[in-house]
């Protein structure tokens, strides 16, 4: 499975996930990061600014991360402990919104969806239609600059409602809530549509090898990748790396690839 990063705000939210996924701390100068076999975990701190800044820093620091799931507690006029999947995330202050592209219903049966509203201060204005949190909009704002919204999601567990208000939340109750959400988080991780993306590894590997051996400008590198993709599409394989060894500059490699592409047979 490609790399997924789970993001929580509080240590109490992070702990059950760290334990379940068998994660270990990664030394990092200013991020609280853990790594397991199937995912990373970032503990971003409370509030949307912390969430945005640390999500952006994490994406820069871990370029292999291709999906993000925010897991946390939220307030809503729903049953305590109910796990909800965000179908929309709104920043209350700016009214900016994000709509993650959700997996098929049958991949997450019995999980209701809800609009998550990120507030700057804790809110007790509970409704059935909204879940209040303090980080999701920051995470979506930063993540959507880098990732498609089919790969950025948010799972919330109802921690407070009109009958059990904010002041009743403890570290222990937050951990217990997140523990309840783990099956949903795991199903969501498996439902992410990585298999809908094109496979580019062969082209990336050859492009990397060629640009290490021969000098390429940034524009030439871009053009090389395009040509390698076209070659791969037309011949169902990338060019033989050994056959390319006789070419010692970007121009000759380009000329050779273009000549092969132009002469490729196209039949139906």
């Amino acid at each position: 499975m490609p790399s997924i990063c789970l993001i929580t705000a509080l240590p109490a939210e992070a702990r059950p996930l760290i334990t379940y996924f068998g994660m270990r701390a990664i030394g990092h100068s200013h991020l609280r990061l853990h790594q397991g076999e199937s995912a990373y975990l970032l503990q971003c701190g409370v509030g949307k600014l912390n969430a945005a800044a640390r999500t952006a820093a994490m994406l820069q620091s871990l370029p292999d991360v291709v999906a993000i799931i925010n897991v946390g507690i939220a307030g809503s006029d729903r049953t305590l402990g109910e796990t909800l999947l965000a179908h929309g995330v709104q920043d209350q202050a700016s009214a900016q919104q994000w709509f993650p592209h959700l997996p098929a219903v049958n991949r997450l049966p019995d999980v209701a969806s809800i609009q998550v509203c990120t507030v700057d201060k804790p809110s007790s204005n509970y409704t059935q239609e909204l879940a209040f949190d303090m980080e999701a909009s920051g995470i979506f704002n930063a993540a959507s600059k880098v990732l498609d919204l089919a790969f950025v999601h948010c799972v919330k567990v109802v921690s407070d409602n009109a009958e059990s208000t904010l002041d009743t939340i403890t570290a222990k109750s937050a951990s217990a809530s997140i523990k309840e959400a783990i099956p949903t988080v795991e199903k969501l991780m498996h439902a992410l549509p990585f298999d809908a993306l094109p496979s580019t590894s062969a082209v990336e590997a050859l492009s990397h090898a060629l640009t290490n051996r021969v000098h390429y400008t940034a524009t030439e590198r871009h053009s090389l990748k395009q040509l390698l993709h076209r070659y791969n599409a037309l011949f169902n394989e990338v060019p033989n790396a050994q056959a390319l060894e006789k070419y010692n500059n970007a121009k000759d490699i380009r000329k050779m690839l273009l000549s092969k592409i132009d002469s490729a047979a196209v039949t139906y």
Binding site: H87, G88, W98, L102, S113, L149
Partner: protein
């Protein structure tokens, strides 16, 4: 449909409720405007195509638009309209992949506003007008859910000065066969060689099924149109298109065919750039092409050979008054 986004303003409409009732297990998400979801940043057409959501919305203005010059089948006043954005099919050459970031389907449920605009536009012209449906979508593919064409035909039956072309690849023709044919309506099918259908027109009905639908429609009295569009180059194109024409025309009453047109493969440069990023493994997009006037196409010699060959072969089957070159909607 797993997820349905609904503009708050259209939630209570009976048409909206009818559509929603078809998908009892879908998630419902209320939005202010369809543009909040559709074509918003950070979306991937290819990924969404796997599991598209439905968006029910109101179309404000620009419902009836003049066609580009040259886009006609003999009429003087030509317009197109789209009650829907995006298509259930997945044709690798389709410009929608490059035009939109989102593969979700938008259905505009204020049908009556479309019909009012069509009537108003018709009344503005002294000579008959033509209205083309199926530019940003397939006209019939989601008809069982939308019932737009059914309502549309009721309206065109009362507006003889307005002519309608329904462009499709779909075989959802039950409703058309259950009503009398309209003299001011043409059902036009996009047709390609079966080998191209299999390789490039994913999720579409086979050529044989399209021909069978055309035959049923013709037998029922509907005017039919044939759109060989887009013409794709291949080393064996002469064989492919010869076989295609033979297969199509042997099944149909040639003299009763309303119109036949050819469309070369062309795409705006920006659309093509997006499409090649989405589908780097596509042979069709990887093959040699040319940029002319910010449009991607085959080189002039290839394009004219392909067109000339097809035009010449068509002369064996139809008369010049049935032929309209280059009505192109890839």
């Amino acid at each position: 449909m797993d997820t349905i986004y609904i503009e708050r303003d259209v939630l209570s409409l009976s048409r909206t409720q009818n559509i929603l009732s078809r998908y009892p297990n879908a998630r419902h998400v209320l939005v202010d405007r369809y543009t909040d979801v559709f074509n918003a940043p950070a979306q991937n057409f290819r990924v969404q195509k796997r599991n598209p959501a439905l968006i029910l919305a109101h179309k404000h203005g620009n419902r009836v638009i003049e066609t580009p010059p040259g886009y006609h089948i003999g009429g003087e006043n030509n317009y197109y309209f789209s009650h829907m954005l995006n298509c259930i099919y997945d044709c690798r050459y389709c410009f929608l992949q490059g035009m939109y970031r989102s593969a979700n389907y938008v259905v505009f449920v204020n049908y009556d506003d479309f019909f009012e605009d069509i009537k108003r536009t018709t009344d503005l012209n002294s000579s008959p007008s033509w209205f083309f449906s199926g530019y940003d979508c397939d006209s019939l593919a989601l008809e069982p859910m939308t019932r737009f064409i059914e309502t549309c035909l009721d309206n065109f039956s009362m507006t003889p000065k307005a002519n309608l072309e329904i462009r499709t690849k779909s075989t959802q023709i039950r409703n058309l066969l259950a009503r009398p044919a309209l003299d001011n309506c043409v059902i036009a099918y996009s047709l390609s060689p079966e080998e191209v259908v299999s390789a490039e027109e994913h999720k579409t009905p086979s050529l044989a099924k399209r021909i069978s639908a055309l035959k049923s429609l013709q037998d029922h009295g509907w005017h039919i149109g044939l759109r060989f569009d887009p013409l794709l180059k291949a080393d064996n194109y002469q064989q492919l298109y010869s076989d295609l024409f033979e297969q199509v025309f042997k099944e149909l009453n040639r003299s009763a065919i309303h119109s036949v047109s050819l469309g070369p493969f062309r795409l705006p440069k920006q659309f093509f750039k997006k499409m090649i990023r989405l589908y780097p493994e596509s042979k069709l997009l990887a093959a040699s092409t040319n940029m002319r006037d910010n449009m991607l196409s085959y080189d002039e010699q290839t394009e004219s050979s392909l067109l000339n060959f097809c035009e010449t072969r068509l002369q064996d089957y139809i008369t010049p008054d049935q032929y309209f070159p280059c009505v192109s909607v890839s």
